[in-house]
Amino acid sequence: MQQLKPVDVVIAGGGFVGLTLAKEITARTSLSVVVLERGQPRKTSDYATGMDELDYSLRFRMMQNLAEETATHRHSTRASAVPIRQYGSFQPGTGVGGAGEHWGAISYRFYPEAFKLATFLRDKFAQRLSGELAVQDWGVSYEDIEPYYWRAEQMIGVCGKAGNLEGKKIDGGNVFEGPRSHEYPNPPHKLSYAPTVFEKAVRDLGYHPYPIPTATLSRAYTNPDGVSRAGCVYCGYCTRYGCMIGAKAQPTNILMPVLAKRKNFTLRTGCSVRRVVHRDGKAEGLTYLDASGAEMHQPASIVLVASWTLNNSRLLMLSKLGEPYDPATGKGTVGRNLTHQVSQSTRVFMDKPLNAFMGTGGLGIGISDFDGKEGLDASPGVLRGGNIRLMSTGEGPIASFGMIPPGETQSDWGSDFKKAALAWHDRVAAISTEAEHMAYRQNFLDLDPTYTDKYGDPLIRLTLDWTEHERAQGAMLTKVHAQIANAMNGRAAPPNSRQLERYTVTQYQSTHVNGGAIMGSSPDRSVVNPWLQHWQVPNLWVVGGSAFPQNGSGNPTLTILALTLRTADGLIDRYLKNPGGLA
């Protein structure tokens, strides 16, 4: 093992989180910062020939290579886990920018009460709460995090319309959201056809439509870091692709241009981090294998773990940092509160062509009339709801072929199938939902006893299944899907409710897997404090979706970025002045 020259800060992971931390630290201090990224460098011009559905959307060319590393899954501790051998209910990225390159750029805030969910639910339901629920307060309030939401929204250039400006409700925005201090940095996008039909239908039904907030730009925009990007041209190659013109906010187009100019910043690619080195409650650095396979030790005064959510927990476990969570006793912290998100969608067969190949990641209209706490009163037994939306994300010709109303043909091949598929082609929209996923005692992460990565290290193991509550959420929301489809004069196919019968790794849901190294106000029940600083190792910070105590209904990236910016403030403004625990 080669000992490298010590640096001030070493960061595991060159995605949205790691590079945002590096940007803040190198801008505001003279500390030397080294980022270790396992994948390869990427830049906007690399994406010019990447508009290919087969390689990128269906073969996952930008994602983590599962042959080298994957996760295993089991439904309960009574079952044995098997590896997720192919994609996949979620899609971790790799390479500079991480999953922040191929994301869909949908940029919701979480609801104010979501940050105090345990308190909120106890106040409402005291007696009725199930003993398996493990929801917790985040240790930060919406008011704490609002300024960071605003900074993150400016950094990535979110487009939308405010529905609640400092408490004043505004029609046309999401009137159910928490108060914003500012209008969105950019206006909403122009609309394609299908969302306009949805918008009229939900308005007629008395709901409150709003443009889905997205970080693909609706116009040319320069952010507070001085980074200019072009407006989106709706090419449709968005989610699962890198943006060829840089209209979609990605670490390579908003963070790397700033970092490239910083003398105190070093990015090392092809470097796989293996362990956090620590002794007597102090982190000493990171070990990794470099691009040539040589073992390195990078000593540092501050260690930031900033990889994709599951990999954060895995690195802590492999490094024997903290007490692993035990679902039988409820003791231990590392690996607890694993959540995904409750996804449902309903296909709507329309009478007119949609030109669905046009679009962008978050182009569309949503309603939140059954979201967050609005979901609570809408249906008995439902604690929290979810959004309902219709988007033109850019349909590829392969994946969109063959969507026909159920029962119309006997077979999914042959002449009859071809005839029906051609007749319905480009006339199928989807109403979709993502709902808050509660944390449960029985859903958690640990190291797999059998399966290993390419280096021989254990894979992370997900023990995860749905409960009656998620099925109740799904039923409540898909009932509204059907109502809306009807108001759109569309023909609704039955929703994919089987997806909530048992957790299914073969069906893509979202990459919004969270938890495992959660934040909170007590070291007994969380891994990091409200600044995402490790409770027991104050010079170690574990940053990302791994910190969510449970999942919100919105797409998580904006909340991850807001937490990251707050971590940077805590580290720079507080910790550096007085190194030690901030909570």
């Binding site: 439904h75 062509p353 030109n355 042959g414």
Partner: protein, 235 residues
């Protein structure tokens, strides 16, 4: 993975008129006459009006079986051209010869354990192996009339081999021609897909409820530079 037989050069011979050259109707209802455009660089045309396509993975005999099966999955009929005209078999041949075919991007460490359906395919066999075995079981397939071919396929409808074949047929119909299928952009014309155009900035909020259809273009045509698929990557 070592496949010695890949070293031997095998060809699939196709009549020129089977690829492109047919009249079809787009969703917009406009008749379009296809030309044999956008063929891959490694397909030579012979004097006799035949195209000899070098195969990367299949033997010529295997390719003929796969081609016939794909044609039943996506047949040429009153609703337009089929898998043979789109050269779907060439697409599949390239995929199997490339990293996908050898499971370079699938987790293939043992133990291989049967599990619940929610965990998907847990087997050891690669797509190459699944095809080799599957095609072997379709002996004499090309000699059968269409109806009996359909019966043979229906009998294996739920097999892993058939599910892959069905999926790959759709992929070969509608993927960019750089991958070997969608010859003459025949698949995209069929569904009115214009190709990976760079911008719909001026179109996105217009033509609402109306089909926006153009003569399709491939990625190479859009970008004006040579493009290649992941299957062509070395290593």
């Amino acid at each position: 993975m070592k496949t010695p037989r890949m070293k031997r050069r095998e060809f699939l011979t196709l009549p020129v008129e089977s690829i492109g050259g047919v009249l079809l109707y787009t969703l917009a209802g406009e008749p379009v006459r296809l030309a044999g455009q956008d063929r891959g660089q490694d397909k030579g045309q012979t004097k006799s009006g035949e195209i000899r396509v070098p195969l990367r993975f299949f033997t010529a005999a295997e390719a003929r079986v796969v081609q016939a099966a794909c044609e039943r999955i996506f047949p040429k009929d009153a609703n337009g051209p089929g898998a043979t005209e789109a050269a779907v078999v060439i697409y599949i041949d390239h995929q199997l010869a490339g990293p996908y075919g050898s499971d370079k991007y699938r987790y293939t460490k043992p133990p291989f354990v049967e599990s619940v359906p929610e965990h998907g395919y847990q087997g050891k066999q690669t797509p190459r192996e699944i095809y080799r075995e599957g095609v072997k079981k379709l002996a004499n397939f090309t000699d059968l009339p269409a109806e009996q071919q359909d019966q043979r396929l229906r009998a294996i409808e739920t097999s892993m081999f058939f599910r892959l074949l069905r999926q790959h047929t759709i992929e070969g119909m509608f993927s960019d021609p750089m991958h070997g299928g969608n010859a003459g952009l025949i698949g995209w014309q069929l569904i009115g897909y214009p190709g990976p155009l760079m911008s719909y900035r001026d179109e996105i909020d217009k033509a609402h409820g109306q089909p926006w259809r153009r003569k399709p273009v491939s990625l190479a045509q859009v970008t004006g530079r040579p493009v290649s698929g992941w299957e062509d990557e070395k290593g």
